[in-house]
Amino acid sequence: MKKRIITIITACSILSAALCLIGLGWVMKDQLIGTKNTKVTTQPAQEVPHPAHQQIHIAAFGDSLTRGTGDPEGKGYIGYLMQELKKKTKKPITLSNSAIKGQTSSQLVKQLAEPEIRRQIKNATIILLTIGGNDLFQGGKAISHLDPTFMKRSEKTYLANVKKIYSTIRSLNQSATVFHIGLYNPFIDMEKSKLTSTIVRQWNFDSANTAADYKKIVYVPTFDLFELNVNDYLFNDKFHPNAAGYKLIGERVAALITFSEEGKR
């Protein structure tokens, strides 16, 4: 009896050793000697049918504001927006947040070229966007030397990028409502606040003008939200909003979304 078990175990072991050696040899052949350069063909994309009518799909893009930087709970304005929306509708809401901290408008243009991002835009019912903050403030660098010609130049590239972003979104998805959340001035309490506010207002104005050229792209102002008591709504870094600041933005967007949904019906 014992003898038979041991023979079986030994046989299994030899078999396994042989298999493993084949595997090992295969690795060597595959990785070291190199292969007959088989081209990697892209697998055909099998489209998952998207029940667009039963559920609301939110696609969010942009920078740290959409990420929620500064909110201790990490919800960001999207978290508060979702809370509000869940009160208003019984439909399931899904969210894909593709925002990247520190993203500038030209980086977003690049991101929108990725196939998966494009698929998300296609399936979205609502698209949220924050962009421009990093183009304008460049992490606070620009604010220390306010050079008007430099500012003009960066605004020009920014506006050209925004145009590209809007057209890309519209060409992929004609029906989704796009909410582009505008810029506020985090430096409104500091010196030269007049100058910085003028610049931010100018950017907001020009962006809103661009948005007006497209159907169902709403430029949501936030400048006024932070105009008074800016420090109550800012995080420690004096740049990103805190929880209270995000809540303000979230509620503002939420109010708009119900309105546009009722308009659809």
């Binding site: 072991s13 078999l15 396994s16 969210l95 894909s96 593709s98 196939p115 698929r119």
Partner: protein
């Protein structure tokens, strides 16, 4: 010779070591399966979708966000950058690297246990192969037989290799059988990408090609077996050199664990790549993760491990045949 090997197999069988190891694996696999299952469920809940493309995209965005923070160590940054490019490559070619299924679980288990868990299990078998006979005194009885010493040692070594193969086989069967209950048994033929190499923070995709999943798994288990063979041989040498099994285990444990720690911090100490314990993560070369030290390749790691194993074999046979036993 066959009788000698049979004799060693019988001793191993009597000690019930193999049985205990299989029990350990059989106990661990359900735990990992459950953890994996929970993880899948949580991501599904968080994103509200079962579509893997959305999930992978979300992972990519999360990595991008980690990369954008400035307080990141250079080597971690490079590691993340390489992984990010790879994930993007998978996504662009519409291939799911983590399709649920028992084969995927097998692969992930092999990749995660090759560095520590499986070497530890092998060590348990190999540690007292010779030293227990020395400390128990049975070695004298064995050596009084009219058989050459090197034959005795060789029979022990062959028995060790057989046990290692058996352990690898059992791990494969157990992970497949148990995880399949939850994830399903399919997915052997889905395509996988291999052949990534990295240079600095760049991922080089010129050598990338598609292979079926079963081939990928077979390759990884081949590497797992190789690592177990090397660790087993080193432990075997210590077992010949030292009379105390506890000392053998202690030294091997320290070496293996220091390997895990070292791989996380040796990126700037280049000569550390000649240590065997930093070279154990062989599967990383197949799936394209960045090696701990710049310039390490699969061929290099295999060569280093092989040299260590050969040296260990020579030392063990030399000392065993020359030593006075009293």
């Amino acid at each position: 010779m066959i009788n000698l090997v049979y004799n060693e197999q019988l001793k191993l069988f009597r000690k019930k070591r193999l049985f205990v190891i299989i029990l350990i694996v059989a106990f661990l696999v359900p735990i990992f399966t459950y953890a994996q299952y929970k993880q899948v469920k949580t991501t599904e809940e968080r994103l509200g979708t079962t579509d893997w493309r959305t999930q992978l995209q979300q992972e990519i965005v999360d990595t991008q966000n980690r990369l954008s923070s400035s307080r990141l160590q250079e080597d971690i940054r490079q590691f993340l950058k390489v992984r990010l490019t790879q994930q993007q490559y998978y996504l662009d070619h519409n291939i799911n690297p983590n399709a649920p299924g028992a084969p995927t679980f097998m692969r992930v288990f092999a990749e995660n246990s090759i560095g520590l868990l499986l070497p530890l299990l092998v060590m348990v078998i190999a540690a007292d192969l010779v030293s227990s006979e020395a400390s128990g005194g049975t070695i004298k009885l064995l050596l009084t037989r009219p058989v050459k010493r090197w034959k005795i040692l060789l029979s022990k070594y062959i028995a060790l290799l057989l046990s290692i193969s058996f352990i690898v086989l059992c791990v494969a069967i157990l992970t497949y059988g148990i995880s399949g209950l939850v994830f399903g048994y399919g997915g052997w033929s889905m395509p996988m990408l291999t052949g990534f190499t990295s240079k600095g923070e760049e991922l080089i995709t010129t050598g990338v090609h598609l292979i079926p999943h079963w081939e990928y798994i077979l390759m990884e288990f081949g590497l797992v077996w190789f690592v177990c063979f090397v660790v087993g041989t080193l432990t075997f040498m210590l077992s010949v050199l030292l009379r105390s099994t506890a000392a053998v285990m202690g030294i091997m444990l320290a070496a293996l664990i220091s390997g895990v720690i070292l791989t996380n911090m040796v990126s700037s100490w280049h000569s550390a790549k000649y240590l065997f314990m930093v070279n154990l993560q062989l599967t990383n070369y197949v799936n394209g993760l960045k090696p701990p030290i710049e310039g390490m390749t699969l061929g290099f790691s295999i060569a280093v491990l092989l040299i260590w194993a050969l040296a260990a074999l020579i030392i063990s046979f030399f000392t065993f045949t020359k030593r006075d036993v009293y």
